[in-house]
């Protein structure tokens, strides 16, 4: 499993690395070009969120091969301040970081499964899954 593994998210260069590794894993999972583009874009948003809002974190990239279903699961973990109001954070246009407010809400639309667990003061974990079609 060359495309899987763990990556740190501690700098802008790491966000680029996350995009590249997720791309490799998406190709390996048999994703169409459009699905590759969607999952890499979602990964870029979530990696940037971890860096901007929590000062960094890590991502684990897992290729799921449960025949006949193949897919990709990405888990972004940080130990930042957490999200006090998750519903609000998932609303288009809501931001506390000066961005467009599309990182969480937009990336949720780009994947098939989206799970967000956040404990104020302890951190946030966002797990997304996309299936190959």
């Amino acid at each position: 499993m060359t495309g899987g593994g763990q990556l740190p998210i501690a700098s802008n260069a790491d966000i680029v690395m996350v995009r590249q590794r997720v791309r490799t894993a998406a190709v390996e999972s048999g994703f169409s070009l459009i699905d590759q583009t969607k999952v890499v874009t979602a990964a870029s948003e979530l990696a940037r969120n971890a860096l901007v809002y929590a000062g960094g974190g890590q991502v684990s990239i897992e290729i799921i091969d449960n025949t006949p279903r193949r897919g990709l699961r990405l888990e972004f973990r940080d130990e930042g301040p957490g999200i006090p109001d998750i519903a609000q954070a998932l609303t288009d246009g809501w931001t506390t970081g000066g961005g467009l407010g599309l990182g969480l809400s937009g990336s949720r639309r780009l994947v098939d499964e989206f799970d967000l667990v956040s404990v104020p003061g302890e951190g946030t974990t966002v797990t997304v899954t996309k299936w190959a079609r």
């Binding site: 961005g99 599309l102 780009l110």
Partner: protein, 121 residues
């Protein structure tokens, strides 16, 4: 950090993004471009994203910012060469880039700028 070269062709500035840009490089590009529009008196800016594999909200915001900024500096902006998968993803992400003019390729982008300049504003 990568710095994107800005080429000048007549009164048009052309930027072709060829590498996966770090966020800092994106911000540097915005500033470099604003300086260059003023120092050259350019009337048009073309951003070629043919080689760009993904446009996330950060890059999308850069495109919108450059278009707004250039307009304030009396230049028109056209984004050219967007890949179909990028367009589909951007819309789903929620970024339709309403204020950004686009053309399918560089040639059509130049034609669009020529047209804009021959029409009174």
């Amino acid at each position: 950090m990568d710095r994107v070269p800005i080429l000048k062709l007549g009164d048009i500035l052309i930027i072709s993004i060829q590498v996966d840009l770090e966020d800092q490089s994106v911000l540097a590009l915005q500033e470099d471009l604003a300086d260059k529009v003023v120092s050259t008196g350019a009337r048009g800016v073309i951003i070629d994203i043919t080689a760009v594999e993904i446009v996330d909200s950060f890059i999308g915001r850069m495109l919108a910012t450059i278009a707004d900024m250039s307009r304030l500096l009396d230049a028109d902006t056209v984004v050219v060469g967007m890949r179909p998968a990028v367009a589909i993803t951007l819309v789903e992400l929620g970024l339709s880039l309403g204020g950004v003019r686009t053309a399918l390729n560089l040639e059509k982008g130049v034609a669009l700028l020529d047209l804009a300049r021959s029409t009174p504003r």
